[in-house]
């Protein structure tokens, strides 16, 4: 039975790269502490493959034909995509892909009643994958990457309940379909509160963010479902905050486990609340 050896969730706002030097000390500290811990614990966990649930920001599919979960099955994943380079200001990278696991995931989820889509080309990555990869230097490790780009922004997108069902199917897939000795890492990339391109572009809902981080770190899924509804997400920022749904398949796959958070910052110019969780497995 393959084993889940690492699980974490963190936001990927491009400004934590582009505006890092301009941020106040306490905000820089949250970014650094969060991603330093993720980077260190990821290496210590030695996964063979890291499956990243990240949000697609309308970068890979027409809005008229939009997949809910898009798996990248390419042998390598390079980014950031050309148009996003100027926006994010991060270095280029090429992470090792894992076509075998990616294709097995596609088949395994299909068998379990979860419609996913797959493409074998290099997907167009913006901050969704570029921030976690460059902040952890994933491309400089032997850990392979399977990106799953999730629709959290084109309505109707998969609900919190559906994301949990996806996570349960994911756990079953990892336990039954992957090679017995394989070590698997899971990462949810997205959130926290923000409203990209919206009238509340500069509004951050600190109360929502702190509650969300607290419930995630407690591993209290019942209260999470009750309090962190999609309606509450939209209230905390339309079209952006629901990106936290990418943490849900990860949480569902590992079950109700406690985790650790590394501080929180709601600096307005990041245009996104920042804080992450690493779960204890």
């Amino acid at each position: 039975m393959a084993e889940i050896v690492f699980a974490a969730g963190a936001p990927h706002a491009p400004a934590i790269v582009g505006l890092f030097d301009k941020a106040p000390d306490e905000s820089r500290k949250v970014v650094t502490d969060t991603y330093t811990a993720i980077s260190r614990e990821l290496r210590d966990a030695r996964p063979d493959v890291l499956i990243v649930f990240a949000n697609d920001h309308l970068a890979n599919s027409r809005i008229t034909f939009y997949p809910d979960f898009l798996i990248g099955t390419a042998p390598e994943h390079s980014g950031p995509h050309e148009w996003f380079q100027e926006w994010i200001g991060c270095r280029d990278y090429t992470a090792k892909g894992n076509p075998d696991v990616a294709k097995a995931l596609f088949q395994g989820m299909t068998r379990r009643g979860v419609r996913m889509s797959a493409r074998d080309e290099n997907l167009k990555f913006d901050d969704n994958i570029s921030v976690p990869v460059t902040m952890t230097n994933l491309d400089q490790t032997d850990i392979t990457l399977v990106p799953v780009l999730q629709n959290c922004t084109v309505p109707p997108f998969p609900s919190a309940e559906r994301c949990f069902e996806v996570g349960h199917a994911l756990r079953d897939f990892i336990e039954k379909d992957l090679p017995a000795d394989m070590r698997v890492g899971l990462f949810g990339s997205g959130g926290l509160s923000h409203e990209p391109g919206g009238v509340r572009y500069y509004k951050i809902d600190e109360e929502f963010d702190r509650k969300f981080l607290e419930l995630c770190a407690k591993g209290d899924h019942k209260t999470l479902f009750k309090e962190i509804t999609v309606d509450r997400m939209e209230e905390a920022g339309i079209g952006g905050t629901a990106e936290v749904l990418s943490w849900f398949p990860v949480m569902a796959a590992i079950g109700e486990r406690p985790g650790r958070s590394f501080g929180y910052t709601g600096w307005p110019s990041f245009r996104c609340g920042i804080g992450g969780v690493i779960w204890d497995l």
């Binding site: 582009g18 301009k22 100027e86 009238v199 572009y201 110019s269 245009r271």
Partner: protein, 105 residues
């Protein structure tokens, strides 16, 4: 805005995605915007809203705000070190009709 106004049929979505995927169209949009817009099946209202940089109107017509934000970057700039501040500020000012909530840094 809330999702009740969202209309996935808007041609402006295709325009923004095409600019993301093709630097030539991006360049042409800067030098000859009308020629680019001519290639999309936009309603007169939609086209007028883009021409007048009226994001409030575009969102009322149903534009997805994520792509609206990206359109503002194609118009006003996308520089990471400046956080695309000019684009974000002008977008928010257009949506609100004022610029009172915009932070200084």
């Amino acid at each position: 805005m809330a999702w009740e106004k969202f209309n996935p049929n808007l041609a402006a979505h295709d325009l923004v995605q095409d600019m993301k995927w093709n630097p030539e169209i991006r360049k042409e949009f800067k030098t000859n915007e009308a020629a680019v817009l001519d290639r999309y099946k936009m309603s007169p209202e939609e086209r007028k809203a883009i021409k007048e940089r009226d994001f409030r109107k575009l969102y009322d017509l149903g534009m997805h705000p994520y792509l609206g934000g990206q359109l503002s970057r194609f118009i006003w700039g996308n520089d990471a070190g400046k956080g695309a501040v000019e684009a974000s500020n002008k977008l928010v000012a257009s949506l609100q009709g004022h610029s009172r909530d915009i932070p200084e840094n």
